[in-house]
């Protein structure tokens, strides 16, 4: 798996992350992955990690932006060998 830490994310080893929740938005395109991720983040407690599985390449740029705008910590993304992406975001304090 290829790791990509974009836009000021931390440099942790994403393959070792144990997410608290996983959201599958594979097959969906904008704005659905963004909306479903934002909704899923709402239900997490501060410090918990969401893993999102997606296939839309545009989402690679949308996820860090969503984290930045919503006050969450963007951890990075992985290109899965099976042809989809894994995104990791940590719930931040409410803005």
């Amino acid at each position: 798996m290829m790791q990509q830490n974009l836009e000021g994310s931390s440099c942790m080893d994403l393959t070792k992350i144990k997410p608290d929740e996983t959201l599958d938005v594979r097959g969906l395109s904008c704005p659905m992955p963004t909306l479903k991720t934002a909704k899923a983040m709402k239900s997490l407690a501060v410090g918990q990690i969401l893993e999102v599985l997606g296939t839309d390449r545009g989402t690679k740029k949308d996820m860090p932006k969503l984290a930045r705008k919503s006050g969450h910590e963007w951890l990075g993304s992985l290109d899965d060998e099976e042809g989809f992406f894994r995104f990791y975001m940590k719930k931040g304090e409410k803005k």
């Binding site: 909306l35 934002a38 545009g58 949308d62 969503l66 919503s70």
Partner: protein, 176 residues
Amino acid sequence: MQEVLNLPADRWDFNEFYSEKPDDTDRFLCKVLAAGAVAIYLDIITKSDIKPINRKTDKDDSADRVVHIFNLFLNICSDGNGKNPAEFDPFQYDQVLEGLNIDDNLRKAYSDRALKLFSAFKNKFRVRDCVDILGFDPFSYEDYDEETQEKIESGEWMQKCVECMQHIITTIKEEN
């Protein structure tokens, strides 16, 4: 759109189409509208006798080239930069055509058709930015109150997206 304009699937691969929204603004152009303009551009160069000197194989015409022009279009014409979409010159940004003298008639053909597309869209919907069409900013979901979030989740905005797609396809079909 590929079918409406008879854009050869082996040359232009719309299946790999994806957008990268501009970083400097939340007010980006409706992507279907941008895709319509790019489809018009591809139609013009497909029918022209331009022989790209940088083109090594048919693969050079595929996804990367289309995505590159499409995303430049979004970046240059969205409100953070504000360029009028009808003034966007795709020939200028098409790397495969670099170094070629482009016939002014081709530029005019694109400009005329793009202007018609944008005018028809603006006349029908009155707005052209995604956030205005949807009625909310997807990146600000958590900032909205519960009532607005429920309204977003009801998905009624999807109908608007479909209307935009239908309008663009119909407009392109009629002018073709």
